[in-house]
């Protein structure tokens, strides 16, 4: 009887989970495992017969100075974006839940950039940086805008950060809105009765209670920024002279343009490990700081 019960339980579970497992396996697990397998093979050409190569690809990847340079640049980009996107997203979330007139309109308007695909948005902003802003700069005598930003290494990097903020802040705002509206009113009221002013209420009550939202937004911004490709490709193309080439774009170049498939794959695995470790640390620290209302 017990055996029969177990079989039916397993059958039920499989009935509901197997389709998802199959899709997940085909789109994530199998490609990942095959990708991992490729990193241990020699693959000089797309049609070559694969031969075992040990950890040679990883050694080449670790010695690839340009890869580490691109990774370091990506870390700088991630730091800038994670801080600015979350600060802005939090601020906007706070504003559009504070009873501002027309706040529903602002919620929709600020979220809209997230609806535009990264490639399209990159091209739109390329036009803005190359043609619109220099025209405004010339007309109004604003020196910083007079010349196209994408031809200068520092300004092109800044352009990447600005466009990313523009795209992601609205989405993060939405998550913060969910956090703000679910804040327990009684706790906030109690804080006010106890004499906490606006800043103290924010610092000691709102912020700790918003930690679950921060865990999600930090994770999303970290992951999206580490993996950035579309904006990088369409906005700066990695230029000028590869000074804004982020690590994902470098890996695509290594694998598919230089045809060093296995080395590129090994670098992708290294990137995966870096992002996974950082994300796990961030989530575990965030979870520890969560408080119950």
């Amino acid at each position: 009887m017990k055996k029969k019960h177990l079989a039916s339980k397993v059958g039920n579970q499989l009935f509901f989970t197997t389709p998802t497992i199959i899709v997940f396996a085909f789109t994530v697990l199998i490609p990942f495992a095959y990708g991992l397998y490729l990193t241990f093979m020699n693959m000089p050409n797309i049609s070559s017969t694969l031969t075992f190569n040990g950890i040679e690809n990883y050694i080449t990847a670790f010695r690839d100075v340009k890869f580490w340079k691109a990774l370091l640049l990506t870390v700088r980009y991630v730091l800038a974006c994670v801080i600015l996107v979350n600060v802005l997203g939090f601020g906007l979330g706070y504003l559009v839940t504070s009873g501002l007139r027309g706040q529903n309109f602002f919620r929709s308007a600020l979220f809209t950039p997230n609806m535009i695909g990264g490639l399209v948005m990159g091209y739109i902003w390329q036009f803005i940086f190359v043609q619109s802003l220099p025209t405004i700069g010339r007309q109004l005598g604003i020196e910083i805008l007079r010349l196209g930003w994408l031809g200068d290494a520092t300004l092109a990097f800044l352009a990447m950060v600005i466009v990313t903020i523009w795209q992601m802040s609205g989405y993060m705002m939405l998550i913060f809105i969910a956090g703000f509206v679910s804040l327990p009113k009684d706790v906030l009221e109690a804080a006010s009765i106890d004499g906490a002013n606006g800043w103290k209420r924010m610092r000691y009550v709102t912020l700790p209670l918003m930690t679950p939202s921060f865990v999600i937004t930090f994770f999303l911004t970290l992951r999206n920024c580490f993996m950035v490709y579309d904006i990088n490709y369409s906005l700066t193309g990695g230029g000028p002279y590869q000074s804004t080439q982020m690590v994902s774009m470098y890996i695509v170049q290594k694998a598919f343009m230089e045809s060093k498939f296995a080395v590129g794959q090994a670098e992708a695995v290294i990137l995966f490990v870096v992002v996974a470790v950082i994300s796990l640390i961030q989530v575990s620290i965030g979870k520890k700081r969560e408080v119950d209302a």
């Binding site: 039920n12 499989l14 009935f15 050409n45 000028p240 598919f256």
Partner: protein, 447 residues
């Protein structure tokens, strides 16, 4: 309830088996290692039934022609209903080629379009059929031979690059019909730029500096100092070519500095940036007069203006008798190769398709009039109507062409490794001597 559970269990087991079977599916047969990879394979004896049903896959380049390719395939299929063609075309700007995607998925591509520079490099292992026995070989001087000397490439498109000018602006500046071949020295180019400025154009040049342009195209031109560019590549690879002391190498970059200078270039103050579109709009509308690019740029020009454009040579020095100052780079830029790993029937069908493109009236008309591609074949009487294509056809007729040097370099390396270094030179982050060292070291690394 019991019934549902039984069905559920059967379904789950079935799915698991399907999954396991899919995982264990045999990999595509590997290329036999004994076969020499870089040498073209002689086609198997043609014992192919011409009426037998056969399906072939074509992987095309030149994404801008996607719809046109399908039209050609449909027309061919009407004439040869037993041959079914599935054509795939890579999107413009896609960094991963459609051929790579198809090959990676184990698909046997019968007919593939390659860039000449990739035949002996990236696709050296792509097993190519020797096409020297094909009828169309006698109709062209552009049939492509691989490193072993075998004719493996069907020249699909003839293209060229040089200094493109807006005829209306330049005619106005010189006060009459401008002769592009009169610019056969750097001083004459400077004189022309002065005249254009005097005519009221503040910046005669809109110099777009993408890595592929300043790298693959501009920075390979020095190879034309020898009749056979491959001989310079060989010397470079062997380390016996003094690049830093080479007059042609230095001359081309002196001209590049002129093109990028603040005096003449619209973007002179900040010469790098994503200026491709803006440069073409500027020259197309006549706000500037000159840029460096190839005949494919007409797609961008025609969006803003239907006026006349032409090519002039890129002067390398002040010697009007120097052949480099009197010619533009022209050659095949896209080749069809047939996969020797396809079945004999598929190879025969692919050959038939290529012959049909050259010999049939539809094929001749389609290539030149529909696609606006300059035909590499003498038996094609059609002429492209777009002014840049026309200028190239005229240069060919006048014998004012030299090899398309991009075909002699590894395109991916020039784009990814050397192009950005040339951009640094333009932005004055490195000197010409530094650039020479980068190029010398790169070629030595190939040796």
């Amino acid at each position: 309830m019991k019934k549902i559970r039984t069905i559920a269990t059967i379904l789950a087991v079935l799915m698991a088996v399907m999954l396991a079977t899919a995982c264990a599916a045999p990999a595509p047969a590997p290329v036999t290692p004994e076969e020499p990879a870089s040498e073209a394979t002689q086609a198997p004896a043609a014992t192919v039934d011409p009426n037998a049903k056969v399906s072939i896959i074509i992987a095309n380049g030149k994404g801008e022609l996607t719809a046109k390719y399908q039209a050609a395939v449909d027309a061919f299929s009407l004439e040869y209903p037993n041959i079914q063609i599935e054509q795939y075309t890579g999107a413009v700007g896609d960094p991963v080629s459609i051929l790579d995607k198809l090959m990676a998925s184990g698909t046997v591509v019968s007919l593939a379009m390659l860039e000449p520079g990739s035949v002996d490099t990236k696709y050296a292992d792509f097993n190519k059929v020797d096409l020297s026995g094909e009828a169309w070989v006698d109709d062209t001087v552009f049939a492509f031979k691989d490193a072993s000397g075998a004719t493996v490439g069907f020249p699909f498109a003839i293209e060229g690059f040089g200094l493109i000018y807006n005829a209306a602006v330049v005619d106005n500046a010189v006060g009459g019909a401008f002769d592009p071949w009169s610019i056969n020295s750097r001083d004459k180019l400077i004189e022309l730029l002065g005249k254009i400025k005097a005519s009221g154009v503040e910046f005669p040049i809109a110099y777009q500096t993408e890595a592929w342009s300043v790298g693959n195209h501009y920075s390979s031109m020095f190879l034309n100092q020898a009749d056979d560019p491959a001989s310079v590549v060989k010397q470079m690879t062997e380390g016996s070519f003094d690049l830093a002391g080479n007059a042609t190498w230095n001359g081309y970059y002196e001209t590049m500095s002129l093109l990028a200078s603040r005096d003449y270039n619209k973007y002179g103050e900040r010469p790098l940036g994503s200026y491709y579109d803006d440069a073409h709009v500027s020259v197309g509308k006549g706000d500037s007069a000159i840029l460096f690019n190839g005949n494919w740029a007409f797609d961008s020009f025609q969006a803003v203006s239907g006026e006349k454009f032409g090519f002039m040579p890129v002067p390398v020095d002040n010697d009007p008798a120097n052949p480099l100052n009197n010619k533009i780079c022209v050659g095949p830029t896209q080749l069809y190769v047939i996969n020797a790993d396809a079945s004999p029937e598929q190879q025969a069908a692919a050959k038939l398709f290529l012959n049909w493109l050259v010999e049939s009236d539809y094929g001749k008309n389609w290539l030149v009039n529909d696609c606006q591609v300059i035909s590499a074949f003498a038996n094609n009487p059609n002429k492209v109507t777009n002014p840049l294509g026309g200028a190239i056809a005229e240069a060919i007729a006048q014998g004012r062409t030299m090899p398309f040097t991009t075909n002699y370099v590894n395109g991916a390396d020039y784009f990814n490794l050397l192009g950005p270094e040339v951009q640094k030179f333009i932005d004055q982050k490195i000197t010409l001597s530094d650039l020479a060292t980068v190029f010398t070291d790169y070629y030595k690394s190939l040796g």
